[in-house]
Symmetry: C2
């Protein structure tokens, strides 16, 4: 998903019927979160005191190969959930809270 759509994604699921396009977009967003490795990466980055984590600190705790971690981090960055900043040889990642909040708001419950 294009990060530039961050201000408009996503329509609430539970207030009005979703059309096909909005459903595809929102499903793609949830698909990024629908993986245990990516959820753990999000939580590790978010729970860091400094708010950012070097990729080198993420391989061991997840117990996956370095390419796999790199792949998941790229997916999260492409989805706008993480921000990547390169410093020399290292890549530092931080959570984009506005993006998470948008997905959260998509699950707003309307009381009947």
């Amino acid at each position: 998903m294009d990060v530039r759509t961050i201000t408009r994604c996503c329509e609430p699921v539970l207030t009005a019927p979703l059309n096909g396009a909005d459903a595809e977009e929102l499903a793609s967003a949830f698909k990024v979160l629908a993986d245990p490795a990516r959820l753990r990466l999000m939580s590790l980055v978010a729970s860091s005191p400094s708010g950012e984590v070097c990729a080198c600190e993420l391989v061991v705790p997840l117990g996956r190969s370095q390419p796999t971690i790199s792949h998941h981090l790229t997916v999260l960055v492409d989805a706008g959930l993480l921000a990547r900043e390169r410093r020399g040889k290292w890549a530092w990642y931080s959570v984009v809270p506005e993006r998470v909040a948008l997905l959260r708001d998509a699950l707003a419950v309307s009381v009947h």
Copy 2:
């Protein structure tokens, strides 16, 4: 996912590091929402004035076969997101807002 776990699922993603088991559980929950057909079903049921919808009203708007709709509805029920009630030949579905709220709360953002 077992509906009986409704009161404990899920750990917040962004406040503390997720262990493997919690990550698996939460990923399974999001996986249910990571499908456009299921999101549209949720929105159609939720936006019904009466709060419940007959399965017979859900096939045409989604443009999929009846078995496919039935499959998705079963997935949503098994995940605790929808409740099914049979009345004679018909099956009526309603949203379980507490369950949606739990997933929503799992995306709570902790401000640094």
